[in-house]
């Protein structure tokens, strides 16, 4: 029997090792798997490379992970925000490495990893400092930059509901990076508002098929849809 359910967020991240590359879903706070991140902080794996669109907001979630000193490098598109104080401080102090990637290249590099693509030519960034030193090619009269996939050891994502096979549906714009990160990691862990019986998710509406998901854990979330008192099983 396939049963990807895990009882707690702590158990879900118990084997994340030092030096891992960890993809973390979310765009700002929408879709950020805050409870899984808290469990990762408690787990204490160090020297992590984190992949996220941003670099943390305020002092919770991803920002707390950075503040805990567990992250060596972050790969993201938009670190600087009004409330990115933790990242800003670490960056200015030279205590975190930043790989800045245009947002569409970030998404496509993740997608490519999940789809088994070895590299791809993209027009985004051509002629800019973010493409310096990269291979380029003119194809049908247009200039492109060669970009490589981003693979991860672990992806931590947030969805609205799962079943025990790991099929996922999301909530509104909290979907963002979840579906592509799920495909790009060796172990994808999804925190969800509820776990339903097999067959309850409409197969036409499942966004992430369970083949891409290794663990699901039901969490009554502090942030996002689950935070508004919705009944969670």
């Amino acid at each position: 029997m396939i049963d990807k359910r895990v009882a707690t967020v702590e158990a879900a991240v118990a084997d994340v090792r030092d030096g891992s590359t960890v993809m973390i879903g979310g765009f700002g706070l929408a879709g950020m798997p805050s409870e899984l991140i808290d469990a990762l902080i408690a787990r204490g794996a160090r020297d992590l490379t984190v992949v996220n669109n941003n670099a943390g907001n305020g002092f919770t979630g991803l920002a707390a992970l950075l503040q805990a000193g567990l992250v060596r490098k972050i790969i993201c598109s938009f670190p600087r925000q009004v409330d990115s104080d933790v990242f800003d401080g670490l960056y200015r102090a030279g205590r975190i490495e930043l790989e800045l990637v245009p947002q569409g290249n970030l998404a496509e590099r993740i997608r490519a990893a999940g789809a088994g693509i070895g590299a791809f030519f993209t027009p985004t960034g051509y002629g800019t400092i973010l493409a310096e030193g990269k291979e380029t090619r003119k194809i049908s009269g247009r200039d492109y930059v060669l970009e490589y996939p981003i693979h991860a050891d672990v992806a931590l994502i947030k969805a609205r509901a799962a079943d025990r096979w790991g099929n996922l549906v999301y909530n509104k714009t909290a979907r963002n990076f979840g579906p592509i990160m799920a495909t790009a990691a060796r172990c994808t862990i999804a925190q969800v508002d509820e776990i339903v019986e097999l067959g309850e998710l409409d197969p036409e509406s499942v966004v992430t098929p369970g083949i891409f998901v290794q663990r699901v854990v039901a969490v009554k979330s502090k942030v996002g849809a689950g935070a508004r008192g919705k009944e969670v099983r």
């Binding site: 765009f27 700002g28 706070l29 929408a30 879709g31 669109n53 598109s77 938009f78 670190p79 600087r80 925000q81 990242f87 800003d88 960056y91 200015r92 930043l98 800045l100 990637v101 245009p102 947002q103 569409g104 290249n105 998404a107 496509e108 993740i110 997608r111 993209t122 027009p123 985004t124 960034g125 051509y126 002629g127 800019t128 400092i129 973010l130 200039d143 999301y170 909530n171 509104k172 714009t173 909290a174 979907r175 963002n176 990076f177 979840g178 579906p179 592509i180 966004v207 942030v223 996002g224 849809a225 935070a227």
Partner: protein
Amino acid sequence: MKKLNRDEMAARIARDIPDGAYVNLGIGMPTLVANHLPKDREVILHSENGVLGMGPAPPPGEEDPDLMNAGKQPVTLLKGGVYFHHADSFAMMRGGHVDICVMGAFQVSATGDLANWHSGAPDAIPAVGGAMDLAIGAKQVFVMMELLTKKGESKIVERCTYPLTGIGCVSRVYTDLAVIDITPEGLKVVETVEGLTADELERITGLSFPARATTARAGDPPLIAPQAR
């Protein structure tokens, strides 16, 4: 000479967005354009975090933390609107499916190079987001910016000195003093504000406009007079 304020600039841009267009409005000033879209046109707003058919901000108290725009502000979804993941969202942008994007800028060059993501200051923390994808992907890139810096220097320049976002990608620049097209023949003045002549525009920008405006025509809404079409 009366400069346009931000809402007037937004209203001017909105006039040029046709019925049926798929449009991405960049973070900051361009979001004002949404407030001025004519009610008789159906324009579908795209937000790169994963929405088509984005609606206005919800009433206070009805914000949904899972329904945000790219600026991480709460929004709503119109009937017919949809959600999708990030790779699909950027396929819409990079694949040439978005008709128009409106972005702010530090500088635009006479050949349509765009600089809008990085001040270039050594101590600045860089952040690029989707700017480079929109620059090369949207069918038309509109820039919305004040024409002059606070020091009075033109932000339309021969060559950008700020780090580039994209090369030769800007179609049209909407400013508080003039609307200027980037054409293969060079800069073309579409309109100037009432009381601003083409000579003065050339003087304050230090640029030459091969297709020159001649006279300002008063009274055309909203404060910009079409000329040299």
